[in-house]
């Protein structure tokens, strides 16, 4: 099956009513449905990711041959070892982890909101993280080691407020998005206020953080997002299954025995934590959480947003954008968020234009 192959239409498959395109994996009493095209897409994305990662390690102020990079990674000695191991590899791992976290977060929030426009940077989570971080920076309230944690707290708090305000005897998807947008605007002006109040140099630093940057992020800085991804793995596996029913309408999902309130809260919570942690580490890298799930869905053609492929695409987008940002106007480095916004903003406009023509997104 190729990526461009169309599903055959109107052909009965006698005896095969297992949903089209799914394979069955059995081990003992357990059985799992696996979407074949998603597996294929994931394999292709992993290859692309490997290629971009190698390029990421090779390219820089000093170009290092792929063979030499491989020698260094397998423990060999080389004069370039410091650049690869201490500078590029930690930053690469940060890019991968941040991108994956944004990809999953966007997928989960879009699933619950049933809206492709819903992503952490649209519904106020990034702005919540930003407001707290910028406040701490400009008023000198925090040292740089605790900033990521403050930012995580800010993101989670903003999400909780949006959730509470959107709740009226149940969670209404559109309400959730609109209230989120309202909060995002309010928090954004709060950020501006803090920046005008603060010292000029600090405000400039805050601006870079707000754009989303991986500059200077090493093993220590990326630890929160790496650990969170690992700890959230069981929750993400649960979420992938829960998406099957949450993507239906409320009444149908409830009739199928889904405790919708709890499941949705669970999905949003996982998404918010991942988005907040990633924002805490790299700043709000705009549009990644918006783009990755939508592209993943179009590539895999699943009825719900594929989580694993969203994670891979998020990682791919951030890594590629950072690689380009580092080299495009070298020696001046563009923050990764500038690149993702340059691609993401037109895509967002396209999504809105398309949805106005009556097509569902």
């Amino acid at each position: 099956m190729s990526l461009t192959e169309k599903a055959p239409a109107a052909v009965a498959r006698p005896g095969a009513t297992r949903p089209a395109g799914y394979g069955l994996v059995r081990t003992g009493p357990a059985s799992f449905l696996v979407h074949r095209r998603s597996v294929l897409a994931a394999a292709v994305l992993l290859l692309l990711l490997a290629a971009v990662s190698v390029a990421y390690l090779c390219v820089g102020e000093r170009t290092i041959a792929p063979g030499e990079v491989l020698t260094i990674l397998t423990g060999g000695d080389s004069p370039a070892a410091f650049v690869v191991e201490e500078l590029r590899a930690p930053r690469l791992v940060t890019a991968l982890a941040v991108g994956a976290a944004f990809g999953i977060a966007g997928a989960l929030i879009q699933t619950v909101a049933r809206n492709p426009l819903a992503s952490p940077d649209i519904i106020g989570i990034s702005q919540g993280a930003g407001a707290v971080t910028v406040a701490a920076m400009t008023f000198g309230l925090a040292s740089y080691t605790v900033l990521p944690y403050l930012s995580i707290a800010g993101g989670v708090l903003a999400a909780a407020l949006v959730y509470v305000f959107a709740w009226r005897g149940g969670l209404h998807a559109t309400r959730f998005v609109l209230i989120g947008i309202g909060f995002a605007i309010a928090l954004r002006s709060l950020i501006t206020l803090f920046m005008t109040k603060g010292d000029f140099l600090v405000a400039q630093q805050a601006q870079i953080w707000l754009t989303g940057s991986l500059n200077g992020r090493g093993w220590e800085e990326s630890a929160p997002v790496r650990w969170t991804l690992l700890l959230m793995l069981p929750a993400v596996l649960w979420a992938a299954r829960a998406q099957r029913t949450v993507s239906l309408d409320d009444a149908t999902a409830t009739a199928l025995g889904v405790r919708l309130g709890r499941v949705r809260l669970g999905l949003v919570a996982v998404g918010v934590v991942l988005a907040s942690v990633a924002t805490g580490v790299a700043g709000p890298v705009d549009f990644v959480a918006l783009l990755a799930p939508q592209i993943a869905r179009r590539v895999t053609r699943t009825a719900q947003i594929p989580l694993f492929c969203s994670a891979l695409l998020g990682a791919l987008i951030v890594t590629a954008a950072d690689l380009i940002g580092r080299r495009l106007f070298s020696p001046v480095e563009l923050p990764v968020g500038v690149l993702t916004a340059a691609v993401g903003a037109p895509y967002l406009i396209w999504l809105i234009v398309r949805s106005r023509t009556g097509e569902k997104a």
């Binding site: 109107a10 009513t17 799992f32 009444a251 409830t254 009739a255 199928l256 009825a303 569902k360």
Partner: protein, 269 residues
């Protein structure tokens, strides 16, 4: 025998009471149809029977146990419900959607069994959508789509099936098709079905047990031949009408009073 009953049910949206102190019994193995004018609370009642709406007072009982106290997944193995306007995820295939009806019988580690396979095959055969299995639900006609949704509810394999206005937005041929399907399921599989219908004539034709509601209360219930009368139609719908036997089935057929201009000319001296 009734597995599903309502006792002293009061239902409200926010502070607006829609149904008050309603008692109801759904006879097992029969087709029950709830009718009534717009905003009489018929859909609201059905939603409560399917635990989509929590009663303010009173309770819905399944086998004598309060729905509100039963795990929702357990209810889903006994009661299937098709809402008025279900929404399918974009680009989902027919077989994928129908397969999701198996949710209450599955677990995270048991996503597909032979039982699931059999139930889905059977549901699709019964609703005549097997040939559409690989098609996207988006590209189906209204009638086909409604059959697919019914197939999903059937795949759930529940003894009780609640359908909220399943004929809305369908032309008359597709309306009859869906209602015939409902009757066939009831007659050949012994499923208990509760329908909310807008059309009194269709209700009278397909119901074994008819429940007429007005302003949140049950006004009349029983076999259509016994309760559908000129007086009942005037009382419930406020419509002057003549009830005659349906020329095909013999069930009551409601013919509304003369149209405005005819009425005016007949009044003229």
């Amino acid at each position: 025998m009734t597995r599903l009953t309502a006792r002293g049910l009061t239902l409200a949206y926010e502070n607006r009471v829609v149904v008050e102190d309603l008692d109801l019994e759904v006879p097992d193995g029969k087709v029950t149809v709830i009718v009534g004018p717009n905003a009489c609370g018929k859909s609201t009642t059905l939603r409560a029977l399917g635990r989509l709406l929590k009663p303010v007072r009173g309770a819905v009982l399944l086998d004598g146990e309060e729905l509100a106290k039963l795990p929702t997944k357990r209810i889903a193995r006994s009661i299937g419900l098709l809402p008025q306007t279900p929404v399918a995820p974009e680009a989902i295939t027919v077989a994928d959607l129908v397969a999701r009806g198996r949710q209450p019988h599955q677990a995270w580690w048991k996503q597909w069994s032979e039982e699931d396979e059999r139930a889905v095959t059977e549901a699709m055969a019964r609703t005549d959508v097997a040939a559409l299995a690989d098609r996207s639900v988006d590209e189906l006609s209204g009638g086909q789509r409604q059959r697919v949704w019914i197939a999903m509810a059937l795949a759930q394999e529940t003894d009780l099936l609640l359908l909220d206005e399943p004929t809305t937005y369908l032309d008359i041929a597709h309306q009859v098709e869906v209602l015939d399907l409902v009757r066939r399921l009831n007659r050949t599989r012994g499923r208990t079905v509760v329908l909310v219908l807008h059309d009194l004539n269709q209700a009278a034709r397909y119901a074994d047990h008819l429940i007429a509601m007005k302003a949140g209360r049950v006004v009349a219930q029983g076999a259509p031949a016994e309760i559908v009368t000129d007086a009942m139609v005037r009382d419930v719908f406020g419509l002057p009408a003549v009830v005659v036997p349906d020329p095909v089935t013999g069930s009551p057929l409601v013919v509304p009073g003369a149209p405005w201009d005819a009425a005016v000319s007949s009044d003229a001296p």
